[in-house]
Each structure stands twice: as C-alpha cells, then as structure tokens.
Amino acid sequence: QDYTFALVPKAMNNPFFDLARDGCNKAQEELPDVTCEYIGPGEHTEMEQIQIVQDLISKGVDGIAVAPSNAPAMAKALKAAADAGIPVMTWDSDLLEEDKALRSTYVGTKNYDIGVNLAELTMERHPDGGTICLQTGGAAAANHNERLLGIRETLSGETLGTPPGDPLSGQGGWTEISGCPLITDDDGNKAVQGMTDILSANPDLTAFVSTGAFTQWFDNAYRQAVEPYKDRMDSGEMSIIVADTLPMQMEQLSDGLSNGQVGQRPFEMGYRAMFIMKDLAEGKDVEDPIFTGLDVCTNANAGDCLAQ
C-alpha cells in the first residue's frame, strides 16, 4: 500500500517553508511507501489555501498536514476531511482550541515561545529596558501576532490578553516607539526599508526586534542598513534580534550584525509530519502536540547553537 501525504504550507514563496519541504522530501526517501505532495498557495492568501485543501480532499490523498492561515475557516474545510476519512494534522500553526478535535496532532513550535525567547535575549542585553521597535509580518497573521504577544508579555511581565496585545508604554521599563510595530507583509524590501527609516529616525533606540526572517533575507541590503550602527551594537547600547536561523542570518549573527536569533526547525516539522501521518494512516496513536523545539543563538554561541 502506497501513501500520498500532502504538506500544505501557508505560502510557497517563503524560504522558511522550503525547509519543511526539504524535510518532507527526506522522509519520502526514507519511507519507500510514502509520497510527499508539497502544495500551497503561491502567495499568502487565506482563501486559496482553503481551496487547495478542499481539492486535496476531493482528490483523496491519504493524509493532510496543514499550516492553517485562517484557523477557524480551515477548521470548517477540514470537517469534509473527517467525513471522507482522511487523517489530518496541523504543523507550524494550529487550529483554535475548540476545533482541535478535528486534527489528530500538531507538530511545530509554540509561536508564543518564539516571542518569549526573543524577549529574553533582549532583556539579557538590556536589563534596564529602554525603547524598542517590533517588526511583524502581515497585519492579521496569527503566528506573528502570537509572537508579538510573547515578546510583550515577557518584557512587561504582565498578562496582556489576546494577541498581539497592546504596545508597551513603560511596563517593565520598555517603551515601544511611535510608528511601530512595523508591518512588512512578508516583503523583504519593505522590511529593510522600514528598519532603515526607523533606525535613522530614532538614533538612540535600544532594541529592534523582528518576528520574522524577512528583515534579513536580503543580505547585502541588511548589512548596509545595519553597518552604521555596528559600534553601538558591539558596545551593547543597541540590539537587533530577529526570529529564524536561515544560513545568511547565521552569518550576519557571526559578523556581529545581529545580536540574537531564535530559530524554529521547519525541516524537522516537514520530516516528522510524514512519519506521523504514516502512523495515523496505519491507525496508530500519536502524541499531541509534538513540539520541535527552538534554537536560541547569540553572538557568543553562533557557531554551534543549531540542532543537527
């Protein structure tokens, strides 16, 4: 019996999800009876992702692992999978609490924890607090909003309600400057330009924290933008801390052009998703949820912080 499992990312044009695809392909090599079908919307659009999942159900794949963009809407679409007897799991981001019965398990990280780690790196370098600017992805992106909440709650030491929480105004010694959080719509160019403008408009900013890798995608542009502030970063007056640990991000960290990275393990998510789904398809029980862990890197441990 051969299995075809679908791995559905939020968008196919995001290097982050490519790593998951690579993991998925590796699992396919290791499991002779499993085919990995990696398919998602070209760009980040909620409706197209739902349409794709519907089509996969119609097509009759043997299992679906999805990273829902719009959790409640995806939950409704997944009801059809239950009717069709197709096992479903989530990865990268999860369904809402009340819909969790619809999926067998979740593999990934808690986005909230990424925020917590980003904030802890920041506080380590600046125990007295200061001014901060946060940068996020799409305005309504749930995962980024959870990370923002994680950052804000950790920095302030308070509970701030639903994601993304309200901007800090002095709690825990931290103040978010006006104009932030920067919304990038996952566009690397916008991210760099926004950071450049904010840094030049606020020469004594304490910390710039981004919840996504887009800030650092464009290596040369990022380096140019940050170079003028390298002295301040080296002396500990200022920090730039960014989520994810893509290769060029790690180089930037080694070169002292960023002060901390918090990485997920998308490769592992894609890889493990295949094994989990095979278990599901064969009727075995699986753990719920499964956390893939985070890599927390600083200038000090840049060489060996990544798992594997």
């Binding site: 990696y38 398919i39 409706m47 197209e48 349409q51 794709i52 409640p72």
Partner: protein, 343 residues
C-alpha cells in the same frame, strides 16, 4: 431619359427596401452570441471539463463541483460589479481591501450581539460609503479611477486594521449559525453563494439589456462626452456604478465571512487583480463600452477551473502557476483566432 412609370417603379422598390432596411436584424441571437468572448471562454471551459473528466475521476464528483462552484461564486459576484465599472472605462482596485473592511465591520457588529440583519446592513453601508467616495472623486473631481481606487485600497485596508485592532473575529453573536448557514451551506445541492450569483447574473442580464440605467452606463463607456451632451447625468451614473461595484464586494465579503466562520483584516488581500481578470476574461474591455452579464461568472469560473484542474491532475506545484497563466492566455486567444478568421 426616364419616363414616369420607371420612376414610380423605382420609387416603389425604394420604399420597400427602406422598409426592409428598417426592420432588418443583422444576425440571429445565436450568431451574435458566437461572436462574443464569453461564448468562447465558455467553450474553453467545456473543453477543459471534458479533458479533466478523463484525467481525474473525482473531477465530476458532486463534492468537487460543489467546491468549484462555491469558490468562484464570490469572485463572480464581485466581477459582476467590476464589469459595470470597466464598462465605463474605469477600474476599481479597492474591492479586495473593501472586502476586508466590510467583513470586519459585519463581524464586529455581530460580535457585539446585534444580529445578522444589522450585520448585513452595516456591511453594505460600509461598502456603499466606500463606493460613494470613490465615485465622487472620480466623477465630480475628475480624478483617474486608477489613482483613486488605489488610494482607497490602502485606506480601506488600513481602516480595517484599525477597527479590528488587528484581531481575528470568529464569534458572531446570536445569529452565528444562520450566518454560517448562509455563507457555507446549500439549498437543493447548490451552495448558497452560487444561488446569489445566479440570481445576480439574471438581474444584471436584465439590467444591461432592458434598464435605462444600464443603457446609460454603456453609453458613458462608449463616449462619455456624447453621453453628457445627450443629457445623461453622467456624474451621478458613474457614482452609482462605483457604489454598485462596492456593494457587490460587500455582499461577497458577507457571504465569504459566513463561509469562513471567521474574519481577519487580511480578507480579500490581492483579490482585485483576480476580479478584474475575471471580468476581462468574461469579455469586458478596459477601454469601456462593452459589458456582458454572463461574462463575469464565466470568467471567474475559468480561473477557478484552471486552478482546480491543475491540482487534480497532479501538476508539480512549482509549475502550476505557469499553467494557470498559459491557459488564461489560451482561453482568450480562442476568441481572437476565431474572430480573425471571420474578418
């Protein structure tokens, strides 16, 4: 040189020909239809359907057809309104953002416990307001539709972010079930949004063919200056056209939120190009003056069908967009080739 009888004979035959000229209809309805773009796009749709029937046995399954039709219903509804705008040689880039705004407003109102009627009215009122602003700037202040609606695209999305405070809404108060039924369920096997699309298409068909307003819109698209000189209240009609487009987008947003069961301010992001594409594929001409009611659903159907077919056919994910683009061009090319042959 001539005698009287000959003259009379000529006169009589002349009167007869005059009469035959007056009442002559150049073509039968079918002949006329064959010359239109929607017809040829429809042919392309049928062709894809036949091929897909062999490629994938789930293609014609009830569930797949259900999904396909519902998916394109939203775009079809918006494309109906967009076609009107395009018919006046305008363009409305704000429909996608407006969906986000109208959806959020509906969600907030219902979340606050006001019930579905108020939610619907608030949604449509928001849409009408946005359309009104667009229309006034374009018609009375003579601004380029592209610039105005592009500005509105940014503004509407921003307002949606502000009023939603960037949060997702998925509790719709007392009428949640009814709301989700309207957007997500079906009547006699046909999804409700599809019913809405069918009814609206019929209404628009009538409007373009028989209503005075429709005639005026087409005239404005043909020659706005001449329409103005003929005493048509061009400005008011243009405003109404942009309001109509916005209302269609608002309606689509209402249905879509009901189907999703949740709404974020990202609803409708980048839909504007798809909607315009559906209209243009359905035969609308960006230079104005051409409109087909059936064009909008047919154009939307083609786009959805291509997407669905590629997935069912198991085309490599990276290549899929390529074929989407290719088939889009080929479908429209069909009509071009046919019409070149005729000339």
């Amino acid at each position: 040189m001539t005698d009287t009888t000959e003259k009379q004979g000529a006169a009589r035959s002349h009167a007869e020909i005059d009469d035959s000229i007056t009442s002559r209809s150049e073509m039968t309805a079918l002949q006329a239809a064959i010359r239109t773009q929607p017809f040829w796009v429809f042919v392309a749709i049928i062709a894809i359907g036949i091929v897909m029937n062999f490629v994938s046995d789930v293609f014609l399954s009830e569930r797949n057809l259900f999904n396909i039709t519902r998916n394109f219903a939203f775009f079809g509804i918006m494309a109906l309104g967009m076609s009107a705008v395009i018919c006046t040689a305008g363009i409305d880039l704000s429909v996608g953002s407006l969906m986000g705004l109208a959806g959020i407003v509906a969600g907030l109102v219902m979340q606050a416990g006001y019930g579905i009627v108020f939610g619907f009215l608030a949604c449509m009122a928001t849409a009408a307001t946005v359309g009104f602003v667009n229309g006034v700037l374009i018609a009375y202040l003579r601004m380029a539709p592209f610039v105005v609606t592009l500005g509105m695209l940014a503004m509407a999305r921003s307002i949606a972010m502000v009023v939603s405070n960037n949060k997702m809404i998925y509790e719709f108060g007392p009428d949640q079930d009814l709301f989700e039924w309207i957007g997500g369920e079906s009547v006699i096997g046909v999804p409700n949004p599809v019913w809405v699309l069918i009814i609206l298409t019929a209404v628009f068909w009538w409007v373009w063919r028989y209503s005075i307003w429709g005639r005026w819109v087409i005239a404005i698209g043909g020659n706005a200056h001449a329409a103005k000189l003929a005493g048509i209240p061009v400005e008011r009609v243009v405003v109404s056209v942009y309001m109509l487009s916005s209302l269609c987008a608002g309606l689509a947003a209402f249905l879509m939120v009901g189907w999703f069961g949740s709404v974020t301010n990202a609803l409708g992001l980048t839909y504007e190009l798809n909607v315009i594409a559906a209209s243009v594929i359905g035969g609308a001409n960006l230079m104005g003056g051409v409109v087909y009611a059936v064009g909008a659903p047919i154009g939307a159907a083609l786009m959805e069908l291509i997407r669905n077919s590629l997935l069912l056919a198991g085309i490599d994910a990276l290549w899929q967009q390529f074929f989407v683009g290719l088939f889009l061009i080929l479908a429209v090319l069909l009509e071009q080739i046919r019409n070149r042959g005729r000339q």
